[in-house]
């Protein structure tokens, strides 16, 4: 589960260092709140929901805290996207994702990367399934427009 949690965090934040910071905060909050988890809902969905809520809080706080963490940790952790051969080609996707509005990026990552059903993704985000569906379409169209323009 931890590798998947990292993937989601990196998908949301757009880079390995921020993603790992987000992941760490999520684990800490999840363990601190574990008595709130009710079996029956999927554990991973529950943790993902915690993560996206932290992400929203952080975004509201102007990402100052994440920024500080990153500065302190610079060099300490290897960014997920950093040392790969296909960096140039792959970073198009990161750049395009980064330009999406948060809620569209979240929809795209939950469904197209993490493989959640629309209903599960909507539950994590706390929106109606139809809303999830249309965010996904808008995010997808914007991504395709950016990626196909570059190609």
């Amino acid at each position: 589960m931890l590798p998947r949690l990292r993937r989601f965090a990196i998908g949301l934040t757009g880079n390995g260092a921020d993603g790992d910071d987000l992941c760490q905060m999520t684990i800490e909050r999840a363990l601190g709140n574990r008595d709130k988890w009710r079996g029956g809902s999927r554990l991973d969905s529950w943790v993902y929901r915690i993560m996206r809520n932290i992400r929203i809080d952080e975004a509201r706080a102007g990402q100052r805290r994440l920024q500080t963490f990153v500065d302190e940790e610079a060099g300490g952790s290897v960014g997920a996207m950093g040392a790969q051969e296909a960096t140039v080609e792959l970073s198009d996707i990161d750049a395009a994702l980064a330009r999406l509005p948060d809620e569209q990026r979240e929809a795209v990552v939950l469904v197209m990367v993490e493989g959640y059903s629309y209903r599960e993704a909507a539950e994590i985000v706390g929106c109606p399934t139809g809303t999830m569906n249309s965010r996904l379409v808008r995010g997808r169209d914007a991504l395709l427009a950016m990626l196909e323009q570059e190609a």
């Binding site: 589960m1 009710r38 079996g39 290897v78």
Partner: protein, 228 residues
């Protein structure tokens, strides 16, 4: 009726109900523009998952694994003990399962130990016949049943001698994870054992959806635990 972009995306993602999916399949077959749209959607999905897939194989940075490891056992035992008094059965292993799930993810990389073995005849007959609902004091209990990523039916079981997770394939019940079973003695502590928590966590990791309910279990048994 021509599908909306939302419907077309839902179609490409396999999210539509059967009737509407069948209608759209016909439209897509007849209309190259629609077919192209579906292909674009699926291409993007493939591209995105390929882009992020390598993260799963990277080692988890130690600061993350450290964040998970130290607190799990002691605190959880207390939490589980407290909870045992007031919550329904599922929650008995909920708290330990959460920590164990995160912990387990570090040691086995999110995958249960693979074993080449199959359940022996005695265990297989328990797995074949016993339903979660209505279990009494059977020596081996079924904890839950679920479907895994390979679309097999899997069942987590726990007994004094042996516990684990077995998935039904064409040959029989393949053992996918094994515990030592020792945590399972004494009624009151039955579901709160760390062994059980680890199994629940492993099951959570393998499952593609929620655990089967009583009716789904009965139907699966009726089908000999073979999917489809």
């Amino acid at each position: 009726m021509r599908p909306t972009p939302e419907e077309l995306a839902a179609f490409a993602d396999g999210e539509l109900d059967e009737a509407r999916a069948a209608e759209i399949a016909v439209l897509v077959d007849d209309d190259p523009a629609l077919a192209r749209e579906v292909a674009r959607h699926r291409d993007l999905r493939a591209k995105l998952s390929a882009h992020f897939a390598p993260i799963l194989d990277q080692p988890v940075p130690s600061r993350l694994s450290d964040a998970v490891r130290p607190r799990s056992t002691v605190v959880d035992f207390a939490a589980a003990k407290q909870r045992r008094k007031r919550l329904p059965r599922w929650s008995l292993y909920a708290a330990p399962a959460l920590a164990a799930c995160l912990v387990l993810a570090i040691f086995v990389g999110g995958r249960p130990d693979a074993s080449t073995g199959y359940a022996d005849r005695q265990l297989a007959s328990v797995l074949d016949d016993q339903l979660v609902a209505g279990q009494g004091d059977e020596p081996t209990r079924i904890l839950l049943s679920f479907r895994d990523g390979a679309d097999r039916y899997c069942r987590a079981f726990s007994g004094a001698a042996k516990s684990g997770i077995a998935c039904r394939d064409a040959q029989g019940w393949k053992l996918e994870a094994a515990g030592d079973g020792s945590a399972m003695q004494g009624g009151e502590y039955r579901q709160a054992g760390s062994d059980t928590a680890a199994l629940m966590a492993a099951a959570q990791d393998m499952a593609t959806g929620p655990a089967l309910d009583a009716e789904e279990e009965r139907r699966a048994r009726g089908a000999g635990w073979m999917a489809r």
